[in-house]
């Protein structure tokens, strides 16, 4: 370890500048210590500290000249790695119907982050798991993260809202930085963590630290550990929370919670985002812009007109059960690093440590949580579309069309997967793949809004943007050799069509296939012509019901479950379901009552899939992202949440 006198700190800035970095670090602005670009030591918050309480932060004078004598302020480093607002790509649509997409990648100068706390290093490592692990990696985050030079500063004093000792994420910066630093009353101590850290350290002409300085550092760390104003019992938190989804505390905290999103914005690990189209008045030159979003916002849980988390109670529970609960199942680590920002910057002072303690103090039995699956290898930029061309259009009903599409290179698709289809300047929608035909593929779209309406209006020869394929697909291997019952409602038949085709093409593997299909009216029946062909196959049976019909309809009227019950429901069979959640709920009830085991039921879940790559958090469903862990779930995976409101 090396040491510099306080007056020599300018050498660190000189060294970083000489190595080509601009420096972002703590400085005083608007009555707080924030992270902004610094010219030199004079910009540091020398002689200032922060006093924090729930809903309260005050900058106060210290009686010494410490430059790092505060804990953490309202800013986070995530703003520099995952900016609050960022263009993802530029898009064009020409009058001839061709489209083009140009990714926008970071173009910032090399940056050093000065004053990274141990909890903040931990937070970056949490976000690394979100953005860098598979199946997709976010190249913008990756580029900034790779480039950022981290100067960590250990905390020798802790704040009233700190609890990194409970979350094991501090207070000592002992890994994950290029240069680790500590501020003692008489000197700064330095230790390099990487080669490039060593290069900066070599420029400092620092002297070796004394044994006494080593001891002061250790004492300071221990002092900070003992000073923390908050504690959090972390053991078994995911199981505790998912076993207490009906705890009265959720309603109590919802009375206070403003659902304003401040906690998620100041949280160094929260990663939810939204994306929207921006364009000039003509719409020809457009861009997709990503912005920070929050699970407390209305739009976050919307699926065309339905909001799955309408109440403040739903949203707070979503946030906290994810942050310290299902986060562990998803990423193998808690989303809380003990920095206390969400407590200080909550405008009404809600304290998550207090809420969690209250739930723990009076809790029901814990619930088992899924074990984290090893992430697939990360692939390249998943957020920028490429062009696909419309090679044919089939009108299926008054408001449904099937687009026959091709793109180069062709997509490798499994039945049940989906893609993100887009038009520049208009927007993007998740659409299931309804079939493949050689290298071409089909996607069936119902016109329910601006984007799906414009996609439905495409003509052969025109282009559109495509991302994907995404999602896991139907469990056709698991179903081999057993009877298969396909239960579809409305447009839900589209993602099942590819599976049905596959089953019928392999009659030896799937000798007994039954389709039960419900839709609104006889005119809404999809794939009618193709169904006639299916009906002639041996080993295939089919029944259709509609919600309402005129007298010309000779078939069934009523709900799908009634049709389903008409034949014995074999516990041996595999059941594949896609349709409105309420239909699937009643089907699951009927099947469960008939003794079909939970692990024979497969459901295609629908949530708002915005990025489809696991980055935006919109399709969060308990411990899963519907986009990358689904959209098809075995019932026993989601049984605890399926059919419940507010998730």
């Amino acid at each position: 370890m090396l040491a510099l006198a306080h007056a020599e700190l300018g050498r660190l800035f000189d060294a970083l500048h000489a190595e080509g970095y601009r420096v972002i670090g703590p400085t005083v602005r608007s009555a707080a210590i924030v992270y902004e670009e610094l010219d030199g030591p004079a910009d540091l918050p020398v002689g200032w500290t922060d006093e924090q309480a729930p809903g309260r932060y005050r900058l106060v004078r210290r009686d010494d000249d410490a430059a790092f004598g505060y804990v953490v302020g309202p800013h986070t480093w995530k703003a520099h790695l995952f900016p609050p607002r960022e263009r993802l790509f530029q898009a064009r649509r020409r009058p001839d119907g061709r489209v083009g997409f140009d990714p926008v990648l970071p173009d910032e100068p090399p940056t050093a982050f000065l004053g990274v706390r141990a909890c903040e290093v931990a937070a970056m490592e949490v976000q690394d798991r979100v953005f860098l692990e598979g199946p997709h990696a976010e190249p913008r985050y990756a580029a900034r993260r790779r480039q950022a030079f981290l100067v960590g500063v250990s905390c020798l004093e802790a704040g009233q809202l700190c609890f990194c000792a409970s979350t094991s994420t501090g207070p000592r910066v002992d890994h994950g930085v290029d240069l680790a630093m500590a501020e003692l009353p008489g000197a700064y101590l330095f230790e390099a963590g990487t080669e490039r850290g060593r290069a900066v350290l070599d420029r400092l002409s620092a002297r070796p630290a004394t044994a006494e300085e080593h001891r002061h550092l250790d004492e300071g760390i221990e002092r900070a550990r003992g000073q923390m104003g908050r504690t959090l019992a972390t053991d078994g938190l995911p199981e505790l929370l998912f076993g207490n989804l009906d705890h009265p505390r959720w309603a109590a905290v919802a009375e206070r919670c403003l659902a304003c999103g401040n906690c998620t914005s100041v949280c160094p690990t929260c990663f939810c985002s939204s994306a929207h189209e921006e364009s000039d008045l003509t719409g020809d030159d457009a861009a997709r812009v990503r912005t920070w979003d929050s699970c407390f916002s209305l739009e976050h849980a919307e699926i065309h007109g339905v909001n799955v988390r309408p109440t403040v109670e739903d949203r707070y529970r979503q946030w906290l059960t994810h942050k310290v609960g299902s986060w562990v199942s998803q990423f193998g680590v808690s989303g809380c690093v003990g920095c206390g920002r969400c407590i200080a910057w909550c405008p009404v002072g809600i304290d998550l440590t207090e809420e969690l303690a209250a739930i723990r103090a009076d809790s029901a039995a814990p619930a088992p949580m899924p074990v984290r699956q090893a992430p697939a290898a990360a692939t390249d930029d998943a957020l920028v579309p490429r062009a696909a061309v419309v090679i044919g259009v089939t009108r299926e009903s008054a408001d449904v069309v099937t687009l026959h599409l091709a793109c180069d290179p062709p997509l490798a698709l499994r039945p049940g997967q989906f893609t993100m289809l887009s038009l520049p300047g208009l927007g993007e929608a998740a659409i299931s793949v309804s079939g493949t035909w050689g290298d071409a593929f089909e996607q069936t779209i119902r016109d329910v809004g601006a984007v799906s309406g414009a996609l439905s209006a495409l003509r052969p020869g025109q282009q559109l943007g495509i991302r994907g394929p995404y999602g896991n697909g139907w469990p056709l291997d698991a179903a081999r050799g057993r009877p298969v019952v396909v239960i579809a409602g409305g447009i839900g038949l589209a993602p099942l069509r590819g599976a049905i085709r596959f089953l019928l093409e392999h009659p030896l593997d799937y000798p007994d296939v039954r389709l039960v299909y419900g839709t609104r009216t006889p005119d809404d029946i999809l794939f009618g012509h193709e169904m006639l062909g299916w009906a002639s196959r041996p080993g295939f049976r089919m029944a259709i019901t509609v919600d309402r019909a005129d007298l010309s309809w000779r078939g069934d009227v009523g709900v799908v479950t009634r049709l389903l019950r008409r034949e014995p429901l074999s516990p041996e069979a595999t059941y594949l379901m896609c349709g409105p959640e309420v239909m699937m709920r009643f089907a699951v009830e009927a099947l469960t009552a008939a003794g079909v085991p939970s692990d024979h039921l497969y459901l295609a879940m629908e949530r708002h899939m915005k990025c489809a790559a696991g980055f935006c958090g919109r399709c969060q469903y308990g411990p899963f992202f519907v986009c990358k862990d689904g959209p098809i779930f075995r019932h026993d995976q989601v049984a605890r949440l399926f059919g419940r409101e507010g998730f």
Partner: protein, 260 residues
């Protein structure tokens, strides 16, 4: 685009200060492009082109329903408009003139005007949506230029306008502002207020006045309780919520909770 196929735009006012119409004129850089893309048939603040009586594709209306003739006028406009968008706090919530809704309007007229018999005014100032169905509310006092352009662009390109219903805090944090309430104790309506201003006041270290009206799920009760705990007197809490958007449901109910 030929003039005949350009969407027809009408801009009208009821009881208002004209500030929201001025926002359209304030789109200096984009105004010519807008004028090229849409046919501005009527624009009471900026044009004296005579009304041809034909329907509008998009009608922007500022101002509240405050006088008897406004009731007729807004029904006529609704009948002529494919899409009717109300712009600004007056049109969406009754405006500052809705303060009279809590008092005896006739008495006020007697006190303020030398010849109250010259005044023809309704007893209340009400939002347009209280009289006719409204397709979209563009919030603000005045409305934000960027939001107006987004609305018009989205209409022209056929997309859903990227205009969110979220707290001012979200945009405040995206801008990197320090929360004025937490860091200085200054009361701020940001958590319960609809976004759209770009967090203007907090960007200058001032609390939000709620110009854009309540957001969805505006937890005004919790925020007001916090203000009172921090030492605000009930009369001040009442005033905070009874401002430009005082007659909007969430703010109205909150201010009434603090009446003596």
């Amino acid at each position: 685009m030929a003039a005949a196929t350009r969407p027809r735009l009408g801009v009208f006012k009821l009881a208002s200060c004209d500030g929201c119409q001025l926002t359209l004129l304030d789109c200096e850089d984009e105004l010519l492009a807008v004028a090229g893309a849409v046919d501005i048939v009527r624009f009471s603040e900026a044009s004296s082109r005579p009304d041809d009586g034909q329907p509008f594709d998009l009608t922007l209306v500022e101002g509240s329903v405050s006088a008897p003739e406004h009731v007729e006028q807004i029904h006529r406009l609704r009948a002529r408009s494919k899409r009717l968008v109300t712009i600004g706090a007056c049109a969406n919530a009754g405006g500052i003139q809705a303060l009279r809704n809590w008092v005896d309007a006739e008495e006020v007229m007697r006190v303020v005007y030398a010849r109250p018999d010259y005044i023809r005014s309704l007893a209340t100032s009400t939002p347009i949506s209280a009289h006719v169905p409204v397709d979209f509310e563009l919030r603000g006092c005045p409305i934000a230029r960027e939001q107006l352009l987004e609305l018009i662009t989205a209409m022209l390109t056929g997309r859903r306008p990227a205009l969110r219903d979220e707290s001012v805090c979200m945009e405040c944090k995206r801008r990197g502002n320090v929360c004025v309430t937490v860091a200085t104790g200054e009361p701020c309506l940001g958590p319960v207020t609809h976004t759209g201003c770009g967090a203007l006041c907090p960007s200058y270290d001032r609390g939000c006045y709620g110009c854009f009206g309540p957001r969805e799920r505006a937890s005004t009760g919790s925020l007001a309780s916090w203000f009172l705990q921090q030492g605000m007197v009930p009369a001040e809490a009442l005033r905070r919520f009874r401002g430009i958007n005082g007659w909007s449901e969430a703010f109205r109910k909150e201010s009434e909770r603090h009446e003596r």
